[in-house]
Amino acid sequence: MNKPIGKIISYSFLTLMLVFSIFPFYWMFVIASRTTADTNKFPPAFTPGSQFMSNIDKMFNEYNIQFFRALGNTALLATTLTLSALFFCSLAAFAFSRLSFKGRSFLFIFLLMTMMIPGQLGIVPLYIIMTKFGWINDLRAVLLPGLVSVFGVFWLKQYMDSAVHRELIESARMDGCTNFQTYYKIVVPIVKPAMATLAILTFMNVWNDFLWPSIVLKDPSVQTIQIAIRNLNKVYYKDNAVIMTGTFLATIPLLVMVSIFMRQFVAGITQGALKG
């Protein structure tokens, strides 16, 4: 069936898609590596220039963007929230999946229903709450609401239901394991693949989150990387090259990370769809 025409069409289509996917990144780097004067020309420059380092220098020294501060804040939030989602969600998922207690299925169905509600519904009261706590311009305003996720509980429970056999729990109990020992000695090692996927999805979401952080984190010292890019875009509207340099630097760490964990990422996307 290897018709050459079919092959040519397939590869042309794929190449077109490849260019469509990659071109914006390439374009970002072209502008980031030139001066703004260079890019404000017709026809525009199509190849990368040599100004990348000087643009970085400009961003830090001339415009005083607290880039590393923002990067640090983002990394701190993403790491903490990932670890806490892994811990709290897996613990709750273990209870929902393998412990029997009254109200278990009711509570779980209730959780599933809340997944349908858009997050913006509670955003105004949440802001009022954060104001009352005095947490505006405080990383805690982003940290506390993000510590747990319904999706995480759902995701891990589904996995535990099929991967952790009841016999295994029984035999752990025969050996005298407490429930918590069963959880971290038996269950956690088994669900590691699902936890890896949850970790990568959570980390990515926190890294890229914009709406809520932009509301509560106004001060430059607490800003996340996404807000820093937005502000770069707002204030230094003319200096396209520096804007792109910042955007480039903010995009690369996550791209590298996700490329490394591509397998877990793909698993997260496809398993969620095929099971749901």
């Binding site: 069936m1 290897n2 079919g6 092959k7 397939s10 289509f13 794929l14 898609m17 914006p24 990144f25 374009w27 970002m28 502008i31 890019t39 020309k41 017709f42 525009p44 709290f88 709750a92 209870a95 412990l99 029997s100 207690f101 509570l107 809340t114 858009p118 913006q120 519904l121 509670g122 955003i123 105004v124 009261p125 802001y127 009022i128 709450i129 506390l144 510590l147 747990v148 009841r166 109990r173 429930n179 918590f180 890229n208 914009f210 709406l211 937005r230 792109m244 955007t247 903010a250 995009t251 996550l254 791209l255 996700v258 490329s259 591509m262 793909v266 996307i269 496809t270 769809a273 095929l274």
Partner: protein
């Protein structure tokens, strides 16, 4: 563990009882942190916003109960809200339909066994999905720039005038829809690819023997077999599309453009709450938005069900 029940002695039954007690204690203990945090930071704000929506409430804390007045204003006297609703739906349509269609084509192409370099294409397809919305909007803003944007350069090469994408209604809508499509096309393609791989190949074999062409196979086998998964991607993109916010905001500003070309529901909610500080009105918007999403999802669900049972 029913089968072994006959062998139980009193002792093990006692143990079982105490195990049940332990399970109750651990069960509640393990879900407690989750429910406490979820309750304070998710559930309570949602319920409270229902109350706030009946007040005229601003940031200084002056609040006055005005009953359904916020909703009445929204429904009868707020063209901007309805513009935002309309924009959200047009943006959803012009981004979702081409996105899902091309995703299906891309997945079909990637599913061919003779293809080389699959991993490369798959990674390339997914990379846009990992990029932050802010970065996407910044980059596309530059591509769609009026004076030095690369798209206008292409147009000028083809003999057209420079086009002010941002200022025109369809131009801005197209730009935002393209950002959404760019980000989600590969994501959906990967889902479709996984689903395609689960279709048994002998169905295609039989169709080939009966003389069905590739295109016929696509429309008569692939699409019907893929219906559940297509339904899933439609639902996911509905949820996402109804909450569209970052792309129009970065591309066209807080007001969604000079004439509100790409003002979406969430963007309107955002500026009402956090630029104009009208908390009561914003909460009413949030609830109305929620009702619209629910109604639309139900409609979507029945429509797809109907299409599913059509043949």
């Amino acid at each position: 563990m029913q089968p072994r029940i006959g062998t139980h002695t009193k002792k093990t039954r006692k143990l079982r009882n105490s195990q049940s007690f332990k399970d109750h204690v651990s069960g509640y203990l393990y879900i407690a942190p989750f429910f406490i945090l979820f309750g304070i930071f998710t559930l309570f704000p949602i319920l409270w916003s229902a109350q706030i929506s009946f007040y005229s409430w601003n940031i200084l804390g002056s609040k006055e109960f005005i009953g359904f007045q916020n909703f009445i204003w929204l429904l009868t006297d707020d063209p901007r809200f309805w513009k935002a609703v309309g924009n959200t739906f047009t943006l959803w349509i012009i981004s979702t339909i081409p996105q899902l269609f091309f995703a299906l084509v891309l997945a079909t192409v990637l599913n061919q066994s003779m293809l080389k370099g699959k991993a490369l294409f798959r990674t390339a397809a997914l990379i846009p999905n990992v990029t932050s919305l802010v970065a996407v909007a910044v980059i596309f803003g530059s591509i769609f720039g009026t004076h030095y944007g690369i798209l206008n350069w292409l147009l000028s090469q083809l003999g057209f005038d420079k086009f002010n994408w941002l200022a025109s209604y369809w131009g801005a809508q197209f730009a935002v829809a393209l950002m959404v499509t760019w980000r989600w096309l590969g994501y959906n393609a990967i889902i479709y690819l996984a689903a395609l791989q689960s279709i048994p190949s002998d169905i295609y074999e039989a169709a080939r023997i009966d003389g069905a062409s590739r295109v016929q196979q696509f429309f008569n086998i692939t699409i019907p077999m893929m219906r559940p998964i297509i339904l899933f991607t439609v639902i996911v993109s509905t949820v996402g599309g109804m909450q569209l916010f970052v792309e129009p905001m970065i591309f066209a500003g807080d007001q969604g453009g000079s004439k509100g070309q790409v003002l979406t529901m969430v963007l309107y909610l955002y500026t009402t709450a956090f630029t104009n500080n009208q908390f009561g009105y914003a909460s009413a918007i949030a609830w109305l938005m929620f009702l619209i999403i629910v109604a639309f999802s139900v409609f979507n669900f029945y429509l797809t069900r109907k299409i599913n049972s059509a043949d």
